[in-house]
């Protein structure tokens, strides 16, 4: 398998693409996101599966986003995502608000190649009022009545995430972040950055195979140590809270955000290694 560098990975995503991204704690391709920002991608339609944070905030602040579909945009214990909030107030992005299980179900419909998925809940919520693409029908399996919401399938142009490892055949191991598998199944192309590539076949490993996305679903892999930094990667590293605090302060103003974006964004451990 040949790998690609982050800039080449980012270059595969054209302006206007619909890109599915994972929740902040399950492996966000943060370094690839900086590469996307550097190539000045525009008009992205981001689909958070089902919530997002720093990644979306950076892309919004850098002017890369037209639409965000999510159940929540948050920096978690660091509070509100400042550029998201500013963009909503200014009316410069479209926001498709929904609820976590609706996003997951819609992606699952995409995975199954079916046109929609029904879901309980949502009736009487203003989320439903504002989602013209959602429909309500009477449950055809019930004797009468029983309204239920139908969610149109989501087939993303790309799934983009960061995983602990890939093997030399291009199979990608995701651990317990099972929705990454669903995203890869649903998306037309899946782009992944990984911490490392190992010389084995993960699909032959009985223990790791169930959490491995087979290579045919994967369009490109980049090796990028600490690729989720400053967000966490399960069982590898925790969030870099100092860096997230720096971002929260910087993101409060337009000028602070631009200054932050123009700095070099490397994990501290790698910066030290590079200068040693």
């Amino acid at each position: 398998m040949s790998t690609t560098d982050l800039d080449a990975l980012a270059a595969r995503i054209p302006d206007g693409s619909r890109v599915a991204i994972p929740t902040s704690r399950h492996g966000v391709a943060m370094q690839a996101t900086h590469a996307l920002i550097n190539r000045r991608v525009r008009d992205l339609h981001l689909v958070a599966v089902p919530t997002a944070g720093l990644q979306v905030d950076l892309l919004i602040g850098a002017g890369c986003v037209k639409t965000v579909e999510s159940a929540g945009i948050t920096l978690d214990e660091h509070g509100q995502a400042p550029r998201f909030v500013a963009a909503v107030k200014a009316g410069t992005i479209n926001v498709l608000d929904t609820t976590c299980p609706a996003l997951i179900s819609a992606i699952q419909a995409g995975e199954k190649g079916i046109p929609f998925m029904p879901m309980r809940g949502l009736l009487g919520s203003d989320l439903l009022t504002h989602r013209r693409d959602y429909r309500v029908i009477d449950n055809p399996m019930a004797s009468s009545g029983d309204p239920i919401v139908l969610l149109p399938a989501i087939v993303p142009d790309f799934a983009l995430f960061h995983a602990p490892l890939a093997d030399c055949h291009g199979n990608v191991w995701i651990g317990k972040a099972r929705e990454l598998m669903t995203m890869a199944h649903a998306a037309r192309q899946t782009l992944v950055s990984v911490e490392e590539i190992i010389d084995t076949n993960l699909l032959h490993d009985e223990l790791r195979s169930p959490a491995t996305i087979p290579a045919p679903y994967i369009s490109a892999v980049s090796v990028c140590e600490q690729g989720a930094w400053p967000l966490p990667l399960p069982d590898r590293y925790a969030a870099d809270n100092d860096e997230l605090c720096r971002y929260v302060l910087a993101g409060k103003t337009d000028s602070g955000f631009i200054d932050y974006l123009n700095k070099q964004h490397k994990p501290p451990s790698l910066s030290i290694a590079a200068t040693a």
């Binding site: 909503v88 009316g91 926001v95 608000d97 299980p101 997951i104 309204p147 099972r178």
Partner: protein, 253 residues
Amino acid sequence: MTTATNQPGFSREELLICVIARLLQGVDHIAVGVSSPIPGSAALLARAIAPSTTRVTVLNSRDLQDLNDGVSELFDQAAQGRIGAFFLSGGQIDGSGNINLVGIGEYPKMTVRWSGSFGSALLYYLVPRVILFRDEHTRRTMVDKVDFISAPGRSDSGIYRPGGPRALVTNLCAFRYDKQRGRFHLESIHPGHTLEEVLDQTGFEFDKPDTIPVTTAPEPERLTLLRTQLAALIADPYPAFAERVWKITALAR
């Protein structure tokens, strides 16, 4: 706040934990979001009281969850009836039990924007015992009518809704939710607070008894449980909270 002139012998957090724990009695599986230390502590207290019949899931914790099927598993469990109690909150909560997690003003270009509705538009309908908790009881948060309904307090007949709000607990008082009337009923006012204060800080109308009880103080044996056995356990998912309330850090693994 609860800085009464005579020391009550328990903290505000301990009182709220014990109030919520009473609401969880008899629930087989309690699920909690990761940023909810007071409800999370109450769930762990409920489990300590009835260990053989109570299971607790704290989302995104390391040791307090038995989930491995990604972000959908909790919602699938709720839809199947595998979760007995959950906690929700709101930037605004209104007198009908509607909750707003989206923002203030006219959607979508709102004057105040919050994170979003998360799982509320499923969980509020399907989890039998949803407890609303908000640590800030003011006219800003307790409003007559929410600006955006993330999830409604009740649904028309004919809509599948096995779950919904059971109670609303705040830093001032505890309400029971009257499902038939779709209104809150004041159950008790916490020590150190008054009806006048509750009325002054509440933007919605609610029902109340002629005589309003003072919220029962924490049971001494439960306080002891919290301070001895549970504090270190609570420090695992909620380190900052446990440090602040009990001056304790998480047990080393």
